[in-house]
């Protein structure tokens, strides 16, 4: 395999108040991946990903982005490489209009005005909010605020997009739209996407790879199908597999694969098993 784009090497982190949040994390993220990070609050998920764009610097160990230590890269440059969307968009938004909000990072980076205009419009179009460009962010719905926050990050054209609990507090349609948007950015623009979530159904449906964190360490890391069959380890991390994985594991005796991840996959598997069974009963040997 090629070089990882982000590489955490034995990362330890202690907050200034003395709270230790990471205890030796090793993690490699490759270009073009969609990776989901799960684990209960306080397990170190957010602390870890904040190391990837330099918001936090490791107390011990190192994080390489694009082959260079984050300690040696200026924040402005890192922000253009790795974009981080906060869990609570209200923490990120502070301007008077959606346009100002999305332009802010580009202005900081001294991008020329005409380029800012086109980039801002393009980013808002991607998240479907071009018609709100002159609105006051405060009056937008939660889902819209979240999308403005994503557009503000997209405007910086980062290679890696980190989204912290994008579906929390959203209804099904909105949550699904967000996940589809990240999938599209990954497929069409080749962006590497890392998302933190408590909703395992999104982890299995949209991420081929899942990382489970517990007590500041990585407990499991691998293809989502494998990760969600490790019932005992998941319990240790207080993570419950999605209904479909649980069902698949318990139907093993009926000939169902235990590493099924999505409703559609399960449906196909059951359909095949049923047709095979009926075929056997009807004795279709020709």
């Amino acid at each position: 395999m090629s070089q990882p784009f982000i590489s955490a090497k034995d990362v330890h982190f202690k907050y200034p108040d003395g709270t230790k949040a990471l205890y030796g994390v090793d993690l490699d993220i490759y270009e073009g991946e969609i990776v989901s990070i799960v684990g209960q609050n306080g397990s170190g998920k957010t602390t870890l990903v904040k190391h990837f764009n330099g918001l936090l610097k490791p107390t011990e160990g190192d994080v390489l982005v694009g082959g260079t230590s984050v300690k040696k890269q200026p924040l402005g440059q890192l922000a253009r490489t790795v974009g981080y969307v906060y869990q609570n968009p209200s923490l990120q938004l502070f301007c008077r209009s959606v346009r100002d909000e999305v332009s802010f990072g580009l202005k900081l980076l001294k991008v020329p005005g005409n380029e800012i205009k086109s980039t801002v419009e393009e980013s808002l179009k991607t998240v479907g909010l071009l018609d709100k460009i002159d609105e006051y962010p405060f009056f937008l719905t939660m889902g819209e605020k979240q999308r403005v926050a994503i557009a503000a990050i997209l405007a910086l054209k980062p290679k890696v997009l980190i989204v912290d609990e994008p579906t929390t507090g959203q209804d099904y349609k909105m949550a699904y739209q967000f996940m589809k948007l990240f999938e599209k950015l990954n497929k069409e623009e080749g962006k590497t996407v890392i998302f933190i979530t408590h909703e395992m159904r999104f982890s299995t449906e949209f991420a081929k790879r899942t990382v489970v964190m517990s007590n500041g360490k990585i407990l499991l890391d691998g293809p989502s199908g494998k990760v969600f069959t490790q019932v005992d380890k998941l319990k240790e991390a207080f993570v419950a597999p999605p209904q479909i994985s649980e069902l698949a594991m318990k139907l093993n005796e009926c000939g169902i694969r235990p590493d099924i991840l999505t409703v559609d996959e399960m449906y196909q598997e059951i359909k095949q098993a049923l047709l095979k069974k009926r075929g056997a009963i009807n004795g279709t040997c020709n």
Partner: protein, 288 residues
């Protein structure tokens, strides 16, 4: 049996808005019942909650038609907001928006002080509520901001509970809380129901807890009630739920696909909604 909540043809429109947010809602809730309320953003869930504890019509401006009766006879329109608060406790989605005092203790006793209870009684009730929400006394002097999401919501519940309401209305209490915190909050709610026969109205986007705890689920869409059924019936209606942007349980989604498939034709009433149902249903289908 007496209905602790009786909503009669309730309609509500916020001042300055063209549209009715609630349209001709009628709902009866028995003592000790747990009603789950689901529906997409903007369907009127929070407005319905506000109309149960008198925030509507007393604190919001707008037009109201119909009636909300509490305890079989008291009309929220005629009650004072303080009387409403004694009968109906309210917990919001974002506890930080609700907290106004410096410490957990001040936060919890605030409502009791406001209605003028004697200090001795407030102290007794404080001990009682701490026990009910399973919070340690060590938290009392901490600022609420230092607490975890689950702890914050338990403080918010305690702050309502101290007035000993008969009804608790919780508007997405665990939307911002992680799975462990969620469990803590639901344990407290379950206990209140078991030990005090508390009536619970709870808004929630996710199916898991509703499925486990609710006696009945109400689906709101554009201000009207579209479905009102026990969870095991409610979640079978996957097409309606998806149409109204509600998360169906994955097992029900699977069952729905099996029911739609012309070669499988799982009978609609056999669509499973829990993992246990699913195992039973699919074992029968596949292994016999």
């Amino acid at each position: 049996m007496e209905h602790v909540i009786e909503i009669q043809n309730l309609s509500w429109k916020y001042k300055g808005s063209e549209d009715w947010v609630l349209k001709d809602i009628s709902l009866q809730v028995k003592k000790g019942e747990f009603i789950g309320i689901m529906g997409q953003n903007g369907s009127g869930k929070s407005t319905l909650c506000r109309s149960l504890n008198g925030l509507i019509p007393h604190r919001f401006n707008g037009s109201m038609k119909g009636k909300v009766l509490i305890g079989g006879k008291l009309d929220t329109f005629e009650m004072s907001i303080a009387d409403c608060a004694r009968k109906v406790g309210m917990v919001f989605q974002d506890p930080d928006a609700q907290f106004i005092r410096g410490t957990v203790e001040e936060e919890i006793v605030f409502g009791a002080e406001n209605v003028g209870l004697p200090i001795k009684e407030i102290k007794e009730r404080l001990e009682w509520t701490l026990n009910e929400v399973n919070l340690n006394r060590d938290f009392l002097n901490k600022p609420p901001s230092d607490l975890s999401g689950g702890q914050k919501q338990r403080v918010a519940i305690a702050a309502s509970l101290i007035l000993k309401p008969d009804i608790m209305v919780l508007d997405e209490p665990t939307a911002q809380v992680d799975p462990m915190g969620k469990l803590e909050v639901f344990k407290v709610i379950e206990r209140l129901r078991k030990e005090h026969d508390m009536t619970v109205i709870l808004v929630e986007h996710r199916a898991d807890e509703i499925l486990k705890f609710a006696d009945k689920v109400v689906l709101l869409d554009q201000g009207s009630i579209v479905l009102s059924e026990p969870p095991c019936q409610f979640f079978k209606k996957v097409d309606v739920l998806l149409d109204k942007c509600v998360y169906p349980p994955q097992v029900a989604q699977l069952g729905y696909l099996l029911a739609q498939d012309p070669e499988i034709k799982l009978p609609a009433h056999e669509i499973p909604v829990t993992v246990e149902d699913g195992i039973q249903c699919l074992t029968k289908l596949l292994c016999t």
